[in-house]
Point group: D3
Chain length 137, copies 6
């Protein structure tokens, strides 16, 4: 069993904001992250899959395929977008790093079924000081 | 003459967009950077000043003072904000990295007049692949 | 269950040194790390907590609160200090990265009791080539 | 139980290539990584060992000894070398990051037997976007 | 006048080697960098151009165009290649970082003639400890 | 004319402190940097030399020689030392980053006289947020 990780990136806008609350209530709970006109980040996404090494290729999984899956199903939908408004799998959800990591895990898990690997971890880095990790359980 | 640099950061939303153009025209010129619902970045700002070393303190300038000036006049206005909508010194200007670096230079230059240093350079990093530098001339 | 990590930093002096040994014995065991006049590091501290996501906020824990706890109880005591001489929770202990990580874990664990999270890991980076991780067991 | 990690580096050439296949077959499976005239990387190697802290020294293991073992048995054999042609423990094996990480684990495990620690993990970083982790099982 | 920089990367094999010298002479002058079976690096290339900001776009130059030029004329020729054997503009030249930076400068300068900018600098990073800079004079 | 840079590192203790002032006066001017029991940093030192490329070797200067000079004359004297107390060329001087960079420049300039290069710049990084650059004039 070996673990391989691919890093991808996306630059997106978001805010932490509950529509049913006033701006003041949002500011009280979410502070500057609730700025009504949005703010944004350069997100780093680390996708880790685990599996056995194929003795023919020396690979767990062709990283080019993993990269293409991440781009098609995740980062092309998030890059240069507004996470709250533009992303199908985030509609109606809080745009926190925690929730985004969980939703990315769920999106990718479905795409990896045809391959001989398991999705092990999503690590999502929001700033150099903050990141979350999700293992699907 | 010695050069000292202070790094600060801010996380902001923006878009590259001309109001007098249609969404289609903006998309043609600015590509995904014109996304109408914004996107964002973790910006890194490097402020370099130059001057003589004070023989009493060994300092060109107290970096704590430089930090406070940058925060009050620049990063507190940009952090967790929308560069196009929320920032006084960017009103009516294109929110490109180039223009933002020039405006930050002009804002800081005025604040450094009372000190025995010259503002040498603004370096503004938008992503790990793109940055601009401006020397005020 | 999701894991969130906050990075903080501190710049401190220390030495690896047993008072009951001579300088020569210390030099033999600890090499240049036993320099009697001290040396120092820019330490990076990564604090990871785990918990369930609050459906109201999308948070495991408000990172601002976590940051404030780390600063009050850990990094304000270590930053610009001598680990061997100035830090209450390190008195009489070896100032190795291993011991420091364990003591930081114990200090923070007590502070996190009121919150709905568990302290998962302390990662303490001493140089770009050396770090330790402690999970409390 | 605490985990300590040492980072070392090596710069090496390799290709992903099966001798029994034609250049065209290799190109189809391995893409540009099969370039017949080789390519190369700056590899980063993170070696993690775990053990109890020695109350006398505050150490799990003297990192200088760990560094010397890694250099003698691993990085001196790989640095400024061709992984496919020059490295005794890679002879006849695919020079993928996965296989290389597994072989490094096996080489180091044997060397750490005399010490009061267990080899926990090999992390091998090939590019800023790709890395593998192996725990020996 | 403002300076914009684009970072690109390539992973390549090379050796420092003069064909007219013996392996022993090469080893004496170039040390481990002369390994006959090659070694390799993850190179980072920073291309800096300078110019006036276009008041319509806020750009010195569309970075997408600069990226495409760098990839077509430089990094597609170097990435996953052998610098000594596979690269047209390096044929018959020493594959040192210095010479490579100069040749990259000369290749790009020709391509930037149609644009309203000047090529200012090539910075080529071979390892985290070594880099060269060339300004074309 | 081409510029080559070598990075070296050292971990040292220091304080900003004037012996002729009281602890209170030092605290007022230098803040937490005046902690009487010292603090410390992981310093990064970037040494840039400039010269013509030797057509035989493709080198401005053999980086191994430059590395050996930096280590013998600079970093072996600073690494795991106290800058105020242990370093011959800093005796009686303020241990600020500015003064240290200037003194390193002066020490290295003398050592580079036998070589066909000029010392161009010392860049000294004290933390990820602060660095100084000195060009010898």
């Amino acid at each position: 069993m070996i673990y391989i990780t691919r890093r991808e990136q996306f630059n997106a806008a978001h805010k932490l904001f509950k529509e049913e609350w006033s701006n003041e209530q949002n500011l009280e709970v979410f502070g500057k992250c609730s700025n009504p006109n949005w703010h944004g980040h350069n997100y780093e996404l680390f996708v880790t899959v685990k599996g056995e090494v194929d003795p023919q290729t020396g690979f767990v999984m062709d990283l080019k395929i993993l990269k293409d899956i991440i781009r098609e199903h995740i980062t092309d939908k998030l890059d240069h977008k507004n996470i709250n408004l533009d992303v199908d799998f985030m509609k109606g959800k809080m745009a926190s790093t925690e929730v985004l990591a969980i939703e990315i895990f769920n999106q990718l898990k479905a795409q990896l079924v045809p391959f001989n690997v398991a999705l092990h971890k999503i690590k999502l880095v929001e700033t150099e000081n903050n990141f979350v990790e999700y293992y699907g359980e």
